[in-house]
Symmetry: C2
Subunit: 274 residues, 2 copies
């Protein structure tokens, strides 16, 4: 099923590009898996085949791991299907499960490839920094109880910006590609949480905490790079690792010295730029 | 198991009051159900029995239906368990599934009853008003595609405030209690959604829509009252029912004339006041 020839696919009339959002909680990542394992791609292709009437094999800007989310994953595929593309989001969303949504569909140039044409990408990582867990964020943020030292984390985020060898944050056993990437920006944003249901304060010691969002914008990322950087940044925030030690780890290029990989549920592929 | 004598329970040393938040998606409502059906209360009692070391039978401020959430449900129970109450949230949360969280535990007066001592309550109902569904809100808001007429909805919310007979919005077949309730406030709040992943706007026609939150604060609510009011208010927002017609429906006291019950996933028990 996966072995159909790429040339045969590319001979089709239209190159269709989709913008897709998904909650990755219930999927074994984005990339197609052999059933009974289900990935986001399995579900998307099955629904799009119904709508376009031919076999769909899509390419995505990149994989996302199990439990990782996407606000703006981009995919493309070739088809002879004739449905007007403005109708695709509504038609597909009515068939898709509610944790996968097609936001937009457009016709792309024949040489557009969601994977190979990508110029840069951004990821967001969300931390719930609060004494209590939040049932509504259990699949969408990493809960850290201890109040994080934001100033130290921002100092380390600053170090990550620019063109560097990111070997210290590279997954062991990943593909053998250059460890050099250019991070255009690595920023942190804090949002206070709404004081619900505490507006009249009858429980005095309830602290709702805050949401910390880190956004990484780069020409590309190594496998697990964002989660490995966040794991080490969180150690800095919790006071387990100093900013000086962070610099040493980063410059030491040794993955075994860095922190654990941050959990998948806090990570969002935000946007892919072409 | 449910038949233990109330008097025996009340003879115990402490009356413990908890503030609890839960995502109701995976539960058959709050109130205890016979297994294999699982309600929030089943899970809470099982965990609290481990922590307090005796049989727990709790009372809640009220039931919530299957799929309905709570930001601040209040429960109480009597126990001989001696664990310091400030340790209860952390101890219980480490055993509870991540969709149920104990926010606070306090000792209450012996005559405090989460159910009978409640003086007033507030509920929030969330609508995602956007052309596309949002995978991250699928279990936490009602998705309405058509842009809602907010001014007309606010006009109708205003009509609901005050002491009225709410028979028009009362579930058929509910308990035989007075249909008169006093709504202290019925307000609507609009939040724009973050323009993610669209900050540089490469997909021109993507409209992220908005979140509409309605908050109802009253001395009490009839069964399904909030969801029935919201269903009818949504009809007004969508232009299916005029504000004048809404008034007629409300004053007509006939449930069969009002709109359908709004879906459970948008409803949150916000706060109970004692």
């Amino acid at each position: 099923m996966r072995q159909e020839h790429k040339a045969e696919m590319k001979a089709r009339k239209r190159n269709v590009r989709l913008l897709v959002a998904y909650d990755g909680t219930n999927y074994h990542g984005f990339q197609y898996q052999n059933p009974p394992v289900i990935a986001v791609q399995n579900v998307l292709e099955e629904v799009l085949e119904k709508i376009f009437g031919d076999k769909i094999e899509m390419a995505a800007s990149g994989r996302t791991d199990a439990g990782v989310h996407a606000l703006g994953q981009v995919v493309n595929f070739f088809t002879d299907g004739t449905i007007p593309l403005e109708r695709v989001p509504m038609a597909a969303n009515s068939l898709l499960p509610s944790d996968i949504t097609i936001l937009e569909a457009q016709e792309a140039d024949r040489d557009f490839s969601a994977r190979h044409s990508a110029q840069s990408k951004s990821y967001i990582y969300k931390i719930l920094n609060a004494p209590r867990p939040d049932p509504f964020l259990r699949n969408s943020a990493w809960h850290i109880k201890k109040e994080l030292d934001i100033a130290s984390m921002e100092k380390c985020l600053k170090m990550l910006e620019g063109k560097h060898d990111f070997s210290a944050f590279r997954a062991t056993g990943g593909p053998d590609v250059s460890p050099v990437r250019n991070i255009f920006s690595a920023k942190l944003k804090i949002s206070d949480r709404e004081k619900l249901p505490y507006e009249n304060g009858y429980w005095n010691n309830t602290d709702n905490g805050k949401i910390i969002e880190m956004r990484f914008f780069a020409d590309g990322f190594l496998y697990h790079q964002v989660r490995n950087m966040v794991g080490t940044l969180a150690n800095v925030g919790m006071g387990r690792t100093s900013a000086e030690k962070f610099k040493e780890i980063f410059e030491g290029l040794d993955r075994t010295k860095a922190g654990a990989t941050a959990p998948a549920q806090g990570l969002y592929l935000e946007k892919v730029n072409y």
